[in-house]
Protein backbone atom coordinates (compact mmCIF):
# COMPACT_ATOMS: atom_id res chain seq x y z
CA UNK A 1 0.00 0.00 0.00
CA UNK A 2 2.79 2.34 1.01
CA UNK A 3 4.69 1.41 -2.14
CA UNK A 4 1.65 2.15 -4.30
CA UNK A 5 1.28 5.53 -2.66
CA UNK A 6 4.99 6.22 -3.28
CA UNK A 7 4.52 5.30 -6.95
CA UNK A 8 1.58 7.69 -7.21
CA UNK A 9 3.67 10.44 -5.61
CA UNK A 10 6.57 9.93 -8.04
CA UNK A 11 6.97 12.65 -10.61
CA UNK A 12 10.25 11.50 -12.17
CA UNK A 13 10.33 8.59 -14.59
CA UNK A 14 11.86 5.56 -12.87
CA UNK A 15 15.55 5.10 -13.63
CA UNK A 16 16.04 8.65 -14.88
CA UNK A 17 16.41 10.47 -11.55
CA UNK A 18 20.19 10.35 -11.40
CA UNK A 19 20.46 11.30 -15.08
CA UNK A 20 18.38 14.38 -14.25
CA UNK A 21 20.65 15.23 -11.31
CA UNK A 22 23.79 14.87 -13.47
CA UNK A 23 22.20 16.94 -16.24
CA UNK A 24 21.19 19.74 -13.87
CA UNK A 25 24.59 19.67 -12.16
CA UNK A 26 26.27 19.93 -15.58
CA UNK A 27 24.05 22.85 -16.56
CA UNK A 28 24.76 24.67 -13.28
CA UNK A 29 28.51 24.17 -13.74
CA UNK A 30 28.37 25.30 -17.39
CA UNK A 31 26.44 28.40 -16.40
CA UNK A 32 28.72 29.30 -13.48
CA UNK A 33 31.88 28.98 -15.58
CA UNK A 34 30.28 30.84 -18.50
CA UNK A 35 29.39 33.62 -16.08
CA UNK A 36 32.93 33.69 -14.66
CA UNK A 37 34.36 33.69 -18.19
CA UNK A 38 32.21 36.68 -19.12
CA UNK A 39 33.34 38.45 -15.96
CA UNK A 40 36.89 38.20 -17.23
CA UNK A 41 38.21 35.13 -15.44
CA UNK A 42 40.86 33.58 -17.61
CA UNK A 43 40.10 30.02 -18.69
CA UNK A 44 43.15 28.59 -20.43
CA UNK A 45 42.54 26.20 -23.31
CA UNK A 46 45.10 24.45 -25.45
CA UNK A 47 45.02 25.19 -29.15
CA UNK A 48 43.48 22.28 -31.00
CA UNK A 49 45.99 21.27 -33.70
CA UNK A 50 43.23 20.50 -36.27
CA UNK A 51 41.78 24.00 -35.87
CA UNK A 52 45.22 25.58 -36.08
CA UNK A 53 45.77 23.59 -39.28
CA UNK A 54 42.68 24.99 -41.05
CA UNK A 55 44.39 28.20 -42.28
CA UNK A 56 47.38 26.07 -43.29
CA UNK A 57 45.14 23.81 -45.37
CA UNK A 58 43.38 26.73 -47.02
CA UNK A 59 46.71 28.47 -47.66
CA UNK A 60 47.90 25.29 -49.34
CA UNK A 61 44.84 25.38 -51.61
CA UNK A 62 45.52 29.04 -52.43
CA UNK A 63 49.12 28.26 -53.39
CA UNK A 64 48.12 25.29 -55.52
CA UNK A 65 45.19 27.10 -57.12
CA UNK A 66 42.84 24.24 -56.22
CA UNK A 67 39.55 24.15 -54.31
CA UNK A 68 38.78 23.11 -50.75
CA UNK A 69 36.14 20.48 -50.04
CA UNK A 70 33.97 20.21 -46.92
CA UNK A 71 31.48 17.48 -46.07
CA UNK A 72 29.73 16.58 -42.79
CA UNK A 73 29.04 12.90 -43.58
CA UNK A 74 25.64 11.31 -44.02
CA UNK A 75 25.01 9.86 -40.53
CA UNK A 76 23.66 13.00 -38.99
CA UNK A 77 20.10 13.79 -39.84
CA UNK A 78 19.20 16.79 -37.71
CA UNK A 79 16.32 14.80 -36.17
CA UNK A 80 18.79 12.28 -34.81
CA UNK A 81 19.64 13.07 -31.17
CA UNK A 82 23.20 11.71 -31.33
CA UNK A 83 24.19 12.49 -34.92
CA UNK A 84 22.36 15.81 -35.40
CA UNK A 85 24.49 17.81 -32.93
CA UNK A 86 27.63 16.63 -34.72
CA UNK A 87 26.37 18.10 -37.97
CA UNK A 88 25.46 21.35 -36.24
CA UNK A 89 28.94 21.53 -34.70
CA UNK A 90 30.44 20.75 -38.12
CA UNK A 91 28.45 23.58 -39.69
CA UNK A 92 29.85 25.92 -37.01
CA UNK A 93 33.35 24.94 -38.14
CA UNK A 94 32.28 25.32 -41.76
CA UNK A 95 31.52 28.99 -41.01
CA UNK A 96 35.14 29.51 -39.98
CA UNK A 97 36.44 27.60 -43.01
CA UNK A 98 34.24 29.69 -45.31
CA UNK A 99 35.58 32.91 -43.79
CA UNK A 100 39.16 31.76 -44.36
CA UNK A 101 38.30 30.77 -47.94
CA UNK A 102 36.64 34.15 -48.53
CA UNK A 103 39.74 35.95 -47.19
CA UNK A 104 42.11 34.06 -49.46
CA UNK A 105 39.82 33.76 -52.48
CA UNK A 106 39.93 29.96 -52.43
CA UNK A 107 37.01 28.11 -54.02
CA UNK A 108 34.99 26.16 -51.46
CA UNK A 109 32.85 23.17 -52.38
CA UNK A 110 30.47 21.76 -49.79
CA UNK A 111 28.95 18.30 -50.23
CA UNK A 112 25.83 18.24 -48.10
CA UNK A 113 23.86 14.98 -48.16
CA UNK A 114 21.44 15.95 -45.38
CA UNK A 115 18.37 17.78 -46.67
CA UNK A 116 17.38 19.16 -43.25
CA UNK A 117 20.80 20.79 -42.84
CA UNK A 118 20.79 22.39 -46.27
CA UNK A 119 19.17 25.74 -45.33
CA UNK A 120 21.46 26.20 -42.32
CA UNK A 121 24.51 25.44 -44.45
CA UNK A 122 23.45 28.00 -47.03
CA UNK A 123 22.81 30.62 -44.35
CA UNK A 124 26.16 29.93 -42.66
CA UNK A 125 28.08 30.31 -45.92
CA UNK A 126 26.19 33.46 -46.90
CA UNK A 127 26.89 34.99 -43.45
CA UNK A 128 30.58 34.04 -43.64
CA UNK A 129 31.08 35.68 -47.04
CA UNK A 130 29.16 38.76 -45.88
CA UNK A 131 31.30 38.95 -42.74
CA UNK A 132 34.39 39.10 -44.95
CA UNK A 133 32.83 41.80 -47.11
CA UNK A 134 32.54 39.55 -50.16
CA UNK A 135 28.85 38.66 -50.41
CA UNK A 136 29.09 38.53 -54.21
CA UNK A 137 31.48 35.57 -53.96
CA UNK A 138 28.86 33.42 -52.27
CA UNK A 139 26.79 31.25 -54.53
CA UNK A 140 24.31 28.48 -53.65
CA UNK A 141 26.13 26.45 -56.32
CA UNK A 142 28.95 25.99 -53.80
CA UNK A 143 26.70 23.52 -52.00
CA UNK A 144 26.24 20.16 -53.71
CA UNK A 145 23.20 18.31 -52.44
CA UNK A 146 23.54 14.58 -53.08
CA UNK A 147 20.85 12.35 -51.58
CA UNK A 148 21.62 8.78 -50.50
CA UNK A 149 24.84 7.30 -49.18
CA UNK A 150 26.09 5.54 -52.32
CA UNK A 151 25.34 8.42 -54.72
CA UNK A 152 26.93 10.83 -52.24
CA UNK A 153 30.08 8.73 -52.02
CA UNK A 154 30.29 8.29 -55.77
CA UNK A 155 29.84 12.02 -56.31
CA UNK A 156 32.58 12.91 -53.82
CA UNK A 157 35.03 10.34 -55.25
CA UNK A 158 34.31 11.60 -58.77
CA UNK A 159 34.82 15.19 -57.59
CA UNK A 160 38.19 14.21 -56.08
CA UNK A 161 39.38 12.86 -59.41
CA UNK A 162 38.06 15.76 -61.52
CA UNK A 163 38.79 18.77 -59.31
CA UNK A 164 41.64 17.38 -57.18
CA UNK A 165 40.96 19.54 -54.11
CA UNK A 166 44.08 20.59 -52.19
CA UNK A 167 42.40 20.22 -48.80
CA UNK A 168 39.47 18.13 -47.58
CA UNK A 169 37.49 18.68 -44.42
CA UNK A 170 35.65 15.53 -43.32
CA UNK A 171 33.96 16.84 -40.19
CA UNK A 172 30.62 15.67 -38.79
CA UNK A 173 28.68 12.44 -38.28
CA UNK A 174 30.02 9.70 -40.51
CA UNK A 175 29.21 6.13 -41.39
CA UNK A 176 31.40 3.99 -43.66
CA UNK A 177 31.91 6.87 -46.08
CA UNK A 178 34.63 8.17 -43.74
CA UNK A 179 37.17 5.54 -44.80
CA UNK A 180 36.21 5.67 -48.49
CA UNK A 181 36.46 9.46 -48.69
CA UNK A 182 39.52 9.55 -46.44
CA UNK A 183 41.38 7.08 -48.63
CA UNK A 184 40.00 8.67 -51.80
CA UNK A 185 41.45 11.97 -50.61
CA UNK A 186 44.78 10.35 -49.86
CA UNK A 187 45.07 8.95 -53.38
CA UNK A 188 44.96 12.51 -54.76
CA UNK A 189 47.44 13.76 -52.14
CA UNK A 190 44.99 16.08 -50.39
CA UNK A 191 45.71 17.57 -47.00
CA UNK A 192 42.89 16.27 -44.78
CA UNK A 193 41.31 17.37 -41.53
CA UNK A 194 38.69 15.08 -40.05
CA UNK A 195 36.42 15.16 -37.05
CA UNK A 196 33.67 13.02 -35.57
CA UNK A 197 32.14 11.92 -32.29
CA UNK A 198 31.14 8.52 -33.74
CA UNK A 199 33.46 6.05 -32.01
CA UNK A 200 33.01 3.51 -34.82
CA UNK A 201 34.44 5.92 -37.41
CA UNK A 202 37.21 7.56 -35.38
CA UNK A 203 39.84 4.93 -36.28
CA UNK A 204 39.20 5.45 -40.00
CA UNK A 205 39.59 9.21 -39.76
CA UNK A 206 42.71 8.85 -37.59
CA UNK A 207 44.20 6.51 -40.18
CA UNK A 208 43.37 8.63 -43.21
CA UNK A 209 43.51 12.28 -42.08
CA UNK A 210 46.42 14.52 -41.16
CA UNK A 211 44.54 16.01 -38.20
CA UNK A 212 41.40 14.81 -36.41
CA UNK A 213 38.93 16.38 -33.99
CA UNK A 214 37.91 13.56 -31.67
CA UNK A 215 34.69 13.39 -29.64
CA UNK A 216 34.18 16.55 -27.54
CA UNK A 217 36.86 18.41 -29.54
CA UNK A 218 34.30 18.57 -32.32
CA UNK A 219 31.94 20.56 -30.07
CA UNK A 220 34.70 22.64 -28.50
CA UNK A 221 36.44 23.56 -31.74
CA UNK A 222 34.86 27.02 -31.66
CA UNK A 223 36.75 27.86 -28.44
CA UNK A 224 40.02 27.31 -30.20
CA UNK A 225 39.06 29.84 -32.87
CA UNK A 226 37.26 32.57 -31.01
CA UNK A 227 38.26 32.18 -27.33
CA UNK A 228 34.56 32.74 -26.70
CA UNK A 229 34.03 32.83 -22.89
CA UNK A 230 30.78 30.86 -23.26
CA UNK A 231 32.49 27.96 -24.96
CA UNK A 232 35.53 28.16 -22.66
CA UNK A 233 33.23 28.22 -19.63
CA UNK A 234 31.41 25.12 -20.87
CA UNK A 235 34.74 23.39 -21.41
CA UNK A 236 35.76 24.08 -17.82
CA UNK A 237 32.36 22.80 -16.66
CA UNK A 238 32.89 19.62 -18.69
CA UNK A 239 36.30 19.14 -17.06
CA UNK A 240 34.77 19.41 -13.57
CA UNK A 241 32.05 16.92 -14.54
CA UNK A 242 34.70 14.52 -15.81
CA UNK A 243 36.51 14.74 -12.47
CA UNK A 244 33.22 14.00 -10.68
CA UNK A 245 32.65 10.96 -12.90
CA UNK A 246 36.20 9.72 -12.32
CA UNK A 247 35.59 10.03 -8.55
CA UNK A 248 32.35 8.05 -8.96
CA UNK A 249 34.20 5.36 -10.90
CA UNK A 250 36.83 5.04 -8.16
CA UNK A 251 34.13 4.85 -5.48
CA UNK A 252 32.27 2.25 -7.54
CA UNK A 253 35.48 0.28 -7.98
CA UNK A 254 36.12 0.24 -4.22
CA UNK A 255 32.49 -0.59 -3.41
CA UNK A 256 32.72 -3.41 -5.93
CA UNK A 257 35.45 -4.98 -3.79
CA UNK A 258 33.15 -4.73 -0.79
CA UNK A 259 30.33 -6.28 -2.90
CA UNK A 260 28.13 -3.31 -2.05
CA UNK A 261 25.46 -2.35 -4.60
CA UNK A 262 24.91 1.06 -2.94
CA UNK A 263 26.30 3.18 -5.79
CA UNK A 264 24.54 1.09 -8.46
CA UNK A 265 21.23 1.55 -6.63
CA UNK A 266 21.78 5.31 -6.45
CA UNK A 267 22.65 5.51 -10.17
CA UNK A 268 19.55 3.47 -11.03
CA UNK A 269 17.26 5.82 -9.12
Amino acid sequence: MVKKEEENMAIIVEGRGMALVILLLSYILFYVFMYLGRKGREIPVRTLPPMAAIPEGIGRAAEMGRPVMFTPGIAGDLNDPTQGPQVLAAISILGYIARECAKTGVKLDVFMPIPTALPLTEETLRTAYMAEGKPEEFSPDMIHFIAGQSPYLTAVLGYFQRERPATNFLIGGFYYESVVMGEGGNTIGAFQIGGTANTHQMPFLVATCDYVLLAEELYAAGASISKDPDILGCLRGEDVMKLILIALMIIGFLLGFARSPALINVLRW
Binding site: R16, S26, F145, A147, E216, Y219
Partner: protein, 217 residues
Amino acid sequence: MAEVLRREVVYLITAIITILMFIEFFFIGTWNVAEELRTWATIIANISIALGAVRLLSEHAKNIQRRRAGVWPFSIWLWIIFLVTLLSGLAGYVIKQDAMTNPLYNWLFTWPYTSLGQTLYAITGFYIFSAAYRAFRARNIDAALLLIAGCFVILTNAPIGGVIWSGIPVIGRWFLDYGQVPGMRCFLIVAAFGMLAYGFRALLGRERGFYGEVAGE
Protein backbone atom coordinates in the same frame (compact mmCIF):
# COMPACT_ATOMS: atom_id res chain seq x y z
CA MET B 1 12.90 43.76 -37.30
CA ALA B 2 13.87 41.05 -39.75
CA GLU B 3 17.09 40.50 -37.81
CA VAL B 4 15.10 40.19 -34.57
CA LEU B 5 12.80 37.66 -36.21
CA ARG B 6 15.77 35.78 -37.57
CA ARG B 7 17.55 35.53 -34.24
CA GLU B 8 15.33 36.02 -31.23
CA VAL B 9 12.36 34.03 -32.49
CA VAL B 10 14.65 31.14 -33.36
CA TYR B 11 16.19 31.30 -29.87
CA LEU B 12 12.72 31.27 -28.34
CA ILE B 13 11.45 28.34 -30.41
CA THR B 14 14.61 26.36 -29.61
CA ALA B 15 14.26 27.04 -25.88
CA ILE B 16 10.55 26.15 -25.72
CA ILE B 17 10.99 22.91 -27.65
CA THR B 18 14.02 21.90 -25.59
CA ILE B 19 12.11 22.46 -22.34
CA LEU B 20 9.14 20.44 -23.62
CA MET B 21 11.39 17.52 -24.61
CA PHE B 22 13.17 17.77 -21.27
CA ILE B 23 9.89 17.58 -19.31
CA GLU B 24 8.62 14.66 -21.39
CA PHE B 25 11.82 12.64 -20.92
CA PHE B 26 12.23 13.10 -17.18
CA PHE B 27 8.78 13.66 -15.72
CA ILE B 28 5.74 11.42 -15.52
CA GLY B 29 2.74 12.81 -17.33
CA THR B 30 0.08 11.93 -19.83
CA TRP B 31 0.37 14.92 -22.14
CA ASN B 32 1.75 14.24 -25.59
CA VAL B 33 2.88 17.68 -26.79
CA ALA B 34 6.45 16.49 -27.23
CA GLU B 35 5.27 13.50 -29.29
CA GLU B 36 3.19 15.82 -31.48
CA LEU B 37 6.21 18.05 -31.99
CA ARG B 38 8.35 15.09 -33.03
CA THR B 39 5.72 14.13 -35.57
CA TRP B 40 5.77 17.67 -36.90
CA ALA B 41 9.55 17.60 -37.07
CA THR B 42 9.34 14.47 -39.22
CA ILE B 43 6.76 16.12 -41.47
CA ILE B 44 8.86 19.28 -41.86
CA ALA B 45 11.98 17.20 -42.52
CA ASN B 46 10.16 15.32 -45.26
CA ILE B 47 8.97 18.56 -46.80
CA SER B 48 12.58 19.71 -46.83
CA ILE B 49 13.45 16.55 -48.75
CA ALA B 50 10.87 17.55 -51.34
CA LEU B 51 12.39 21.04 -51.45
CA GLY B 52 15.80 19.46 -51.94
CA ALA B 53 14.43 17.46 -54.86
CA VAL B 54 12.95 20.60 -56.42
CA ARG B 55 16.26 22.42 -55.98
CA LEU B 56 18.14 19.50 -57.55
CA LEU B 57 15.85 19.51 -60.56
CA SER B 58 16.07 23.26 -60.98
CA GLU B 59 19.90 23.15 -60.84
CA HIS B 60 19.98 20.47 -63.51
CA ALA B 61 17.41 22.36 -65.57
CA LYS B 62 19.81 25.32 -65.51
CA ASN B 63 22.64 23.07 -66.68
CA ILE B 64 20.54 21.93 -69.63
CA GLN B 65 19.36 25.43 -70.45
CA ARG B 66 22.92 26.83 -70.39
CA ARG B 67 24.41 23.76 -72.11
CA ARG B 68 27.04 23.59 -69.37
CA ALA B 69 30.05 21.83 -70.88
CA GLY B 70 30.46 18.20 -69.88
CA VAL B 71 27.47 18.28 -67.53
CA TRP B 72 24.27 18.91 -69.45
CA PRO B 73 23.84 15.42 -70.98
CA PHE B 74 24.02 13.97 -67.44
CA SER B 75 21.47 16.54 -66.31
CA ILE B 76 19.06 15.29 -69.00
CA TRP B 77 19.70 11.74 -67.81
CA LEU B 78 18.96 12.77 -64.21
CA TRP B 79 15.66 14.35 -65.26
CA ILE B 80 14.65 11.21 -67.17
CA ILE B 81 15.54 8.84 -64.33
CA PHE B 82 13.93 11.10 -61.74
CA LEU B 83 10.66 11.30 -63.63
CA VAL B 84 10.57 7.59 -64.49
CA THR B 85 11.22 6.59 -60.86
CA LEU B 86 8.77 9.12 -59.44
CA LEU B 87 5.94 8.32 -61.86
CA SER B 88 6.34 4.54 -61.67
CA GLY B 89 6.46 4.69 -57.87
CA LEU B 90 3.40 6.90 -57.75
CA ALA B 91 1.59 4.61 -60.19
CA GLY B 92 2.25 1.63 -57.92
CA TYR B 93 1.10 3.59 -54.92
CA VAL B 94 -2.09 4.84 -56.56
CA ILE B 95 -3.09 1.42 -57.93
CA LYS B 96 -2.14 -0.87 -55.02
CA GLN B 97 -1.04 1.53 -52.25
CA ASP B 98 2.54 0.23 -52.54
CA ALA B 99 5.19 1.67 -54.84
CA MET B 100 7.04 -1.66 -55.01
CA THR B 101 4.07 -3.30 -56.76
CA ASN B 102 4.93 -1.38 -59.91
CA PRO B 103 7.24 -3.70 -61.90
CA LEU B 104 9.30 -0.86 -63.38
CA TYR B 105 9.84 0.81 -60.00
CA ASN B 106 10.61 -2.56 -58.42
CA TRP B 107 13.15 -3.37 -61.14
CA LEU B 108 14.83 0.05 -60.86
CA PHE B 109 15.14 -0.27 -57.10
CA THR B 110 16.11 -3.95 -56.87
CA TRP B 111 18.58 -4.25 -59.72
CA PRO B 112 20.31 -1.00 -60.69
CA TYR B 113 20.04 0.91 -57.39
CA THR B 114 20.61 -1.87 -54.86
CA SER B 115 23.31 -3.57 -56.93
CA LEU B 116 25.25 -0.35 -57.40
CA GLY B 117 24.95 0.45 -53.69
CA GLN B 118 26.18 -3.00 -52.69
CA THR B 119 29.08 -2.75 -55.13
CA LEU B 120 30.20 0.52 -53.60
CA TYR B 121 29.83 -0.88 -50.10
CA ALA B 122 31.96 -3.90 -51.04
CA ILE B 123 34.71 -1.59 -52.32
CA THR B 124 35.03 -0.32 -48.74
CA GLY B 125 37.01 -3.48 -47.95
CA PHE B 126 39.85 -2.35 -50.21
CA TYR B 127 39.83 1.14 -48.72
CA ILE B 128 40.03 -0.38 -45.23
CA PHE B 129 43.08 -2.42 -46.35
CA SER B 130 44.91 0.68 -47.53
CA ALA B 131 43.84 2.70 -44.47
CA ALA B 132 45.07 -0.13 -42.22
CA TYR B 133 48.39 -0.18 -44.07
CA ARG B 134 48.73 3.56 -43.51
CA ALA B 135 47.86 3.25 -39.80
CA PHE B 136 50.03 0.19 -39.17
CA ARG B 137 53.30 1.61 -40.50
CA ALA B 138 55.52 1.43 -37.42
CA ARG B 139 56.78 5.03 -37.51
CA ASN B 140 56.87 5.46 -33.72
CA ILE B 141 56.21 3.51 -30.55
CA ASP B 142 52.44 4.24 -30.62
CA ALA B 143 52.10 2.99 -34.20
CA ALA B 144 54.22 -0.06 -33.36
CA LEU B 145 51.89 -0.94 -30.46
CA LEU B 146 48.91 -0.42 -32.76
CA LEU B 147 50.52 -2.71 -35.31
CA ILE B 148 51.08 -5.48 -32.75
CA ALA B 149 47.51 -5.22 -31.38
CA GLY B 150 46.12 -5.05 -34.94
CA CYS B 151 48.02 -8.19 -35.97
CA PHE B 152 46.56 -10.11 -33.04
CA VAL B 153 43.02 -8.95 -33.84
CA ILE B 154 43.38 -9.75 -37.56
CA LEU B 155 44.76 -13.21 -36.81
CA THR B 156 41.95 -13.78 -34.27
CA ASN B 157 39.35 -13.10 -36.93
CA ALA B 158 41.20 -15.17 -39.54
CA PRO B 159 40.94 -18.96 -38.97
CA ILE B 160 44.68 -19.37 -39.54
CA GLY B 161 45.44 -17.44 -36.32
CA GLY B 162 44.37 -20.28 -34.04
CA VAL B 163 46.27 -22.79 -36.18
CA ILE B 164 49.53 -20.84 -35.86
CA TRP B 165 49.26 -20.58 -32.08
CA SER B 166 46.26 -21.26 -29.83
CA GLY B 167 47.12 -18.19 -27.72
CA ILE B 168 46.53 -15.76 -30.61
CA PRO B 169 42.69 -15.84 -30.43
CA VAL B 170 42.85 -15.51 -26.63
CA ILE B 171 45.02 -12.38 -26.83
CA GLY B 172 43.02 -11.01 -29.76
CA ARG B 173 39.74 -11.46 -27.90
CA TRP B 174 41.26 -9.72 -24.89
CA PHE B 175 42.05 -6.71 -27.08
CA LEU B 176 38.51 -6.74 -28.48
CA ASP B 177 36.66 -7.34 -25.20
CA TYR B 178 38.79 -5.44 -22.70
CA GLY B 179 41.68 -3.59 -24.35
CA GLN B 180 39.65 -1.24 -26.50
CA VAL B 181 36.43 -0.96 -24.48
CA PRO B 182 37.64 1.54 -21.80
CA GLY B 183 39.08 3.83 -24.47
CA MET B 184 35.90 3.78 -26.52
CA ARG B 185 33.73 4.36 -23.43
CA CYS B 186 35.95 7.27 -22.51
CA PHE B 187 35.31 8.80 -25.95
CA LEU B 188 31.57 8.15 -25.57
CA ILE B 189 31.42 9.89 -22.19
CA VAL B 190 33.41 12.96 -23.24
CA ALA B 191 31.44 13.19 -26.49
CA ALA B 192 28.22 13.10 -24.44
CA PHE B 193 29.47 15.98 -22.27
CA GLY B 194 30.50 17.89 -25.36
CA MET B 195 27.01 17.40 -26.77
CA LEU B 196 25.41 18.48 -23.46
CA ALA B 197 27.47 21.66 -23.42
CA TYR B 198 26.69 22.37 -27.07
CA GLY B 199 22.98 21.87 -26.41
CA PHE B 200 23.13 24.11 -23.35
CA ARG B 201 24.73 26.95 -25.33
CA ALA B 202 22.17 26.48 -28.10
CA LEU B 203 19.38 26.58 -25.49
CA LEU B 204 20.68 29.91 -24.16
CA GLY B 205 21.20 31.30 -27.66
CA ARG B 206 24.96 31.45 -27.15
CA GLU B 207 26.06 28.90 -29.75
CA ARG B 208 26.31 31.10 -32.80
CA GLY B 209 27.07 28.37 -35.30
CA PHE B 210 23.80 26.69 -34.35
CA TYR B 211 21.92 29.72 -35.69
CA GLY B 212 23.84 30.07 -38.95
CA GLU B 213 26.13 32.74 -37.54
CA VAL B 214 29.89 32.56 -37.78
CA ALA B 215 32.47 32.24 -35.01
CA GLY B 216 34.97 35.03 -34.75
CA GLU B 217 32.60 37.80 -35.83
